[in-house]
């Protein structure tokens, strides 16, 4: 009897869930934790629609969006010219949060003293011209490295990722001799590759003297040691929610679009290796789906931002939110 009652209740529920609108999105893996929090919170406010998000990678999100199999996409990197040309429908980018790249290491000798680096040193480690931790250039900044006659073991992301793209963008902008290129997967001349942030971290933990780049949210949530990097104003800054937000704010001051890179920001407190991550939205949508997406975007840029920092994501600065809100107004419903 109890079972029948249960069954009846389930059946009663079906018409309701069939009526509610299902919206499909897919793309970047980096903001996945924040997005799933947003969609679950938003579904409590707007019960008429259910937003579904699959983290299949930025490239996959863009490809499916171009093919028209999604209602929206998500990417760590703005779509390039080739992709925009391929898409039949115009697409607009809405920034949602900021990502940054932290440089972490396994040096028990250093204990809690900070590790300082310039972009030139970082570039030379990753192109293989600095091989040892006690290289004179390193000792000049970190005196306690003098006794560390150990090889640097570079660990990189082996899978294609926005983290690699932002990091190599930074190196090609700040280190003139960087010849290795930039993009989501790079032919690294030295080191070993791990799959995903977890794979990289697994290697770093096991190999003494290792040096690696990971997503900042990953490093902060696990309390990893992070390198303080010299920014273009000459200050050594460590990655934090504040220093990344500040970088976005100073970069947006002039009449710049948020689609441009924000690496190597000019401010005193700015952490130099960071970028936006975006939702990709069709410029014209049907009335029903479009209205839900517009309402959601407005919510995400306002209330949604409060969820960011507890999940180690960086809330957008106010000037960026304003620009994004202007962009949302350009969406047309038919």
């Amino acid at each position: 009897m109890k079972f029948l009652k249960f069954l009846y209740l389930i059946l009663l529920h079906f018409p309701a869930s069939a009526d509610s609108l299902l919206i499909n999105g897919a793309g970047a893996t980096f903001p996945y934790i924040l997005y799933s929090k947003w969609f679950s919170e938003y579904s409590k406010i707007n019960t008429s629609a259910k937003i579904n998000y699959r983290s299949i990678g930025s490239g996959g999100g863009i490809r499916q969006l171009i093919n028209g199999t999604l209602d929206f996409g998500a990417s760590d990197i703005p779509m390039n010219a080739e992709e925009i040309k391929k898409s039949k429908h115009p697409i607009i980018h809405i920034p949602t949060t900021l990502s940054a790249v932290a440089l972490t290491y396994n040096l028990p000798l250093l204990k809690n003293k900070p590790l300082l680096m310039t972009p030139e040193i970082i570039g030379q480690i990753f192109d293989g011209s600095i091989k040892k931790w006690n290289d004179p250039k390193m000792i000049a900044l970190n005196k306690n490295l003098a006794e560390l006659n150990q090889n640097i073991v570079v660990v990189y992301r082996a899978d294609g990722s926005g983290t690699t793209a932002v990091f190599t963008e930074y190196l090609s902008k700040t280190y003139p001799n960087w010849k290795i290129g930039k993009g989501k997967s790079i032919n690294w001349p030295v080191g070993i590759g791990g799959k995903g942030n977890e794979g990289v971290l697994g290697l770093v933990q096991k190999i003494e003297g290792s040096f690696a780049y990971v997503a900042m949210s990953y490093a902060l949530s696990r309390n990893l040691p992070v390198t303080h990097i010299k920014n273009s104003a000459g200050f050594f800054i460590q990655p934090s929610i504040r220093s990344v937000q500040s970088a976005a704010q100073t970069s947006m001051k002039k009449n710049k679009s948020y689609l441009e890179s924000i690496v190597n920001a000019k401010g005193k407190e700015d952490y130099p290796i960071s970028s936006f991550t975006y939702l990709l939205i069709y410029k014209t949508m049907t009335q029903k789906t479009g209205q839900v997406i517009i309402d959601f975007l407005k919510w995400a840029l306002k209330e949604g931002q409060n969820y960011s920092s507890q999940l180690y994501y960086v809330p957008l600065p106010k000037n960026v939110i304003k620009k994004a809100q202007v962009e949302i107004k350009k969406i047309q419903l038919k």
Binding site: E82, S185, N187, G199
Partner: protein
């Protein structure tokens, strides 16, 4: 056996019952479906790998640079990584698997054989990502010290054992693959040994052979074709294995004789880069790698087929 099955088949076709006919056609449909899926897969891979093969030609398979920034792709280093790790795995796994199968089938008392047998078969059921994580966190440090320390200091005149000692690399990849294919090879070998009639063993023993001679003559030689089939099946699994290898191989597409160096296999570069390919040429090059993997697997499987067939002819069908 063969005469019996063919006459059975003829009877089935000649059957006039309508129900049987419908059943026959339904089953035939499913049979064709397998071929259709195979053909569809091959056609899709061929079409998508077209641009890369057009650009680089046949030399795609004989150059080793893999650089998505310069859009310069060659699969040789990936083929190298795949073949070296797979054959290393075979060298390690084959003697162990055959010994395990012999012990379980011929020597072990039943109170020990049953739990051992169960354990070996459980090893197949473990997902490969679990092997990968175990390899990364537990096996790699063991390989680094003491194994690489020992090999690197006492056998360093051999080029296989030179170079940096990270723990992860081709050696670790080969060892984890060996562990993964041991249950595959040993369980097939066990079935093969089991199928050898007991009269064979008894007659060899009756000729005055010792126990070891009996195993050599009746079991190992008699089961030769099956053993080869089992080994090739293990090789097939090693070549296609993706996640576990990706976790421990170091993911660096280059060619080096040293087993300590990181490398990249065909399957692992697909797992790493396909979802986030930088350009359409990059995507096409990755599909061409998939094509190469497809062809190599095909060759391995046909090899196993012909070897088994040949030895079967030689020693008689078991």
């Amino acid at each position: 056996m063969s005469i019996h099955s063919s006459s059975y088949r003829q009877k089935k076709i000649a059957d006039v019952h309508v129900g049987d006919k419908i059943f026959y056609h339904i089953l035939q449909c499913f049979g064709w479906m397998v071929i259709a899926v195979f053909a569809g897969l091959l056609i899709l891979i061929l079409i998508q790998s077209g641009p890369a093969l057009k650009q680089f030609g046949f030399s795609f398979f004989f150059t080793h640079e893999w650089d998505s920034w310069k859009e310069n792709f060659g699969a040789l280093s990936l083929i190298w990584g795949t073949l070296v790790t797979s054959f290393l795995a075979l060298i390690l796994a084959v003697p162990i698997s055959i010994s395990v199968a012999l012990f379980l089938n011929e020597l072990a008392p039943s109170w020990l054989a049953r739990p051992l047998n169960f354990t070996v078969e459980m090893l197949v059921a473990i997902p490969s990502i679990v092997y990968g994580l175990w390899g990364l966190f537990i096996l790699a440090p063991i390989i680094r010290n003491p194994i690489q320390t020992f090999l690197g200091s006492s056998l360093s005149f051999i080029p296989f054992f030179q170079g940096p000692r990270y723990g992860i690399g081709m050696l670790c990849g080969g060892v984890i693959l060996a562990i993964m294919i041991i249950p595959t090879i040993s369980s097939i070998c066990k079935e093969v040994f089991h199928s050898i009639p007991y009269t064979h063993r008894e007659s060899v023993l009756g000729m005055g052979a010792t126990r070891w001679e009996m195993l050599k003559i009746a079991v190992l030689k008699g089961g030769q074709s099956g053993i080869i089939g089992a080994v090739i099946m293990g090789l097939g699994r090693a070549i296609g294995e993706t996640m576990a290898v990706t976790m421990v191989i170091g993911n660096k597409p280059h060619i080096s004789l040293s087993l300590f160096e990181p490398a990249q296999t065909m399957a692992s570069i697909l797992a790493n880069q396909y979802a986030e390919a930088d350009s359409s040429l990059h995507l096409s090059a990755l599909t061409a790698v998939a094509l190469a993997l497809f062809i190599i697997s095909l060759i391995v499987n046909s090899l196993s087929f012909f070897l088994t067939w040949n030895t079967k002819k030689q020693f008689g069908d078991l």
